[in-house]
């Protein structure tokens, strides 16, 4: 099972993924895909330390698959929406270009 660590940035609130060198990235494609459970637990422990250091809020492990283009895609709809944004436009009602379209 492939996993990633997702969280919200404390000051900005935006969604972030744990990336290489234990830094946080805003684009899921830059995040680290964790192949084995031990690696995932270690990454989560790192993330929780960063939560204690007031960088992020509520880091969690999520399951992902890799699509044809090599991009990680969260398995759960909720996490896919967090990763790619709302599936609807704001304000004008126009459709957004979220990458979650496949779930509709």
């Amino acid at each position: 099972m492939k996993q990633m660590v997702i969280a919200n940035h404390l000051a900005g609130g935006f969604v972030v993924f744990l990336g290489p060198d234990d830094r946080w990235c805003r684009w899921i494609g830059d995040g680290r895909v964790l192949e084995d459970p031990a690696e995932a637990e270690a990454a989560l422990a790192t993330a929780k330390r960063q939560e204690a250091e007031n960088i992020v809020v509520e880091p969690t492990l999520i399951e992902v698959t890799i699509d044809d283009t090599g991009l990680p895609r969260p398995v759960e709809i909720r996490e896919a929406i967090r990763a790619f944004g709302p599936t609807v436009g704001g304000g004008s009602g126009a459709s957004a270009s979220s990458g979650v379209g496949g779930h509709r």
């Binding site: 919200n8 404390l10 000051a11 900005g12 609130g13 935006f14 969604v15 939560e51 250091e53 007031n54 809020v57 509520e58 398995v75 759960e76 709809i77 909720r78 929406i81 967090r82 944004g85 709302p86 599936t87 609807v88 436009g89 704001g90 304000g91 004008s92 009602g93 779930h103 509709r104």
Partner: protein, 558 residues
């Protein structure tokens, strides 16, 4: 409308300064998320899926053009250029940075708007009739009592840590546009035999996972006793309400567990005792003082111009439709109430851009004494438009895509933000609302169908009030897939009722077809003069079940 006095200004300024320090301490790591969360919630700040969300109170739905312009400014400067009006007459911003919230609160305070108690276990924004002060059927302006209750309940030490959130709604009209029967406390103004105005008090209504229609706890409470009686209801709730289980903590649970008679006994006992101990008094002078803020605007002495409007309507079918559906009669001759629907085909219900807000504020200044209203159906209202300006106002609204003639018709769908934004949601409600409004675009067909409310919620917390939609739609998660359960027969008016579940959940793409099937069956069955709700109440659920899922036999085979 109400204007802050020196005490209001000071209280809000001190509160913002306090929250600024709390945010600073949180960002510096001096307090943990667990410690900070209840503090931010008391200031309307949630952490949602993509960002922080800020919920801003619009007290009892009354808004000045100046305040709307500030909402536009906040949307443009601190968010992504839009805001979302909610079923509680508030506005929410979905893309907020925590570090900027204290600045936003200062901006809002400059136009006498706050986020205090827009969340947390306290008395929330007190909601009311969007036609308050202008409705023909109104006994008195309910906003006077909303404001008195607001001042009384804001930061009230006894009621700052209730078992759970607490929602109060007030109507001054027998035709309930404020959904009072599904609130923790609903106040319904009426006259006694002596012709005096007082309140029927309802308690224990609510939606969510355990929906209830409220019970009448007292048929008559005189205005001078209103605060004291509400205080007694809150006090008994504070003592008996459950704090061990968040799902059983609302007042509706304890009212229905104890029974309304026992709850009434406890409240009456406390109410009687408060006469001797301490009772918040509401002298007539104080009622009059607050009422003065809600004095009518300087109307011009005008006559109704029905003939002229009929002539204009006869020459312009689009204007005629808008006039018929979106304009309501006004108590003042020569004036009209204009409803501004935020429900264009395919639009996100309740969403409005900063540009639309600014333009609407200009229209309000020119044609509605600078005032607007927000209703619980996620639409806006221009309350004081001269009938002779209706055609001009329509053209201006039409240019802003704010004149869809569908008020209270099938495509005027209510929807919570759902899984596209909300951390609690199980399913996406907005796309369902969009699919429906995009499917039912023929305004003549909508008019032929007649009044029919559709409410969509993305989870059982029911922010979209699906239980009281004539057709309710509830999003559920079944093994990682979104499904939608339909209910029929709900209503939030003076004859409030909860919808009955139609059958198994449907996939999102099947919902518009199901709505079509229900509507077609209704049109076959309806009798002269019936609305959808009337027909449903007469014939029951079975014909509609059959229309959507087939006959009993077909269902058994499936």
């Amino acid at each position: 409308m109400y204007r802050y006095d020196e005490f209001d200004h000071r209280l809000v300024a001190e509160r913002i300064a306090q929250f600024r320090r709390q945010v600073k301490r949180r960002l510096a790591g001096e307090i943990t998320e667990d410690q900070f969360k209840p503090l931010r919630l008391k200031n309307g700040v949630y952490l949602q899926l993509h960002a922080y969300m800020l919920r801003v109170n619009v007290p009892y739905g009354t808004l000045s053009s100046r305040q709307l312009r500030k909402f536009a400014h906040v949307a443009r400067t601190y968010d992504r250029g839009f805001g979302h009006f909610t079923t509680r007459q508030n506005i929410q911003y979905h893309w907020i940075r925590l570090e900027q919230v204290p600045d936003i609160l200062e901006e809002l305070a400059s136009v006498e708007i706050t986020t205090i108690q827009s969340s947390g276990n306290c008395v929330r924004n007190i909601t009311s009739d969007q036609y308050a002060g202008v409705a023909r059927d109104e006994l008195a302006d309910p906003r006077v009592y909303c404001e008195l209750l607001r001042q009384y309940s804001v930061l009230h030490p006894e009621f700052s840590y209730l078992p759970r959130k607490f929602k109060i709604a007030v109507t001054g009209s027998p035709n309930d546009r404020a959904a009072v029967a599904v609130h923790d406390i609903g106040l319904r103004m009426h006259r006694n035999a002596a012709g005096e105005i007082g309140f029927e008090v309802l308690v224990g209504g609510g939606l969510g996972r355990t929906p209830y229609i409220a019970h009448t706890i007292r048929d008559w409470v005189a205005p001078e006793d209103l605060l004291a009686y509400v205080e007694s209801i809150l006090r008994i709730y504070n003592i008996y309400g459950r704090r061990d289980n968040i799902h059983k903590a609302r007042i509706k649970i304890i009212v229905n567990q104890l029974g309304i008679d026992r709850y009434r006994e406890l409240v009456e006992e406390d109410f009687a005792a408060s006469k001797i101990t301490s009772r918040p008094e509401l002298p007539q002078e104080e009622i009059d003082r607050i009422a003065a803020y809600f004095a009518p605007p300087p109307y011009e002495p005008l006559e109704d111009i029905e003939d002229e409007l009929d002539a204009l309507a006869a020459s312009d079918a689009r204007f005629a439709r808008w006039l018929r559906h979106n304009v309501a009669p006004h108590k003042q001759p020569g004036y009209a109430i204009v409803n501004v629907t935020l429900k264009a085909p395919g639009a996100v219900p309740g969403d409005i851009t900063a540009e639309q807000m600014d333009a609407l504020a200009d229209i309000a200044d020119e044609y509605s004494f600078g005032e607007l209203r927000v209703n619980h159906r996620q639409n806006l209202v221009l309350p004081y438009v001269r009938q002779r300006d209706l055609h001009t106002v329509w053209k201006k609204l039409d240019a802003l895509v704010l004149a869809t003639p569908n008020l209270n018709l099938l495509s005027d769908v209510i929807s919570c933000p759902g899984l596209d934004y909300c951390a609690l949601a199980n399913a996406r409600s907005i796309p369902v609302a969009q699919d429906i409004s995009a499917r039912f675009v023929d305004v003549d067909r909508l008019a032929a169908i007649g009044p029919l409310t559709i409410n969509v919620s993305g989870c059982m917390n029911a922010c979209g009030h699906h239980h009281v939609g004539n057709i309710g739609i509830l999003g559920v998660d079944k093994r990682g897939k979104e499904f939608f359960q339909l209910t029929l027969g709900g209503s939030s008016d003076q004859n409030a009722s909860l919808g009955d579940r139609l059958g198994p959940g449907l996939a999102q793409e099947d919902v518009p077809d199901a709505i079509e099937a229900i509507v077609d069956r209704y049109l076959e069955l309806r009798e002269e003069g019936e609305r959808f709700l009337d027909t449903y109440r007469r014939v029951g659920i079975e014909p509609f079940k059959e229309a959507v899922y087939g006959t009993g036999e077909e269902r058994a085979i499936a």
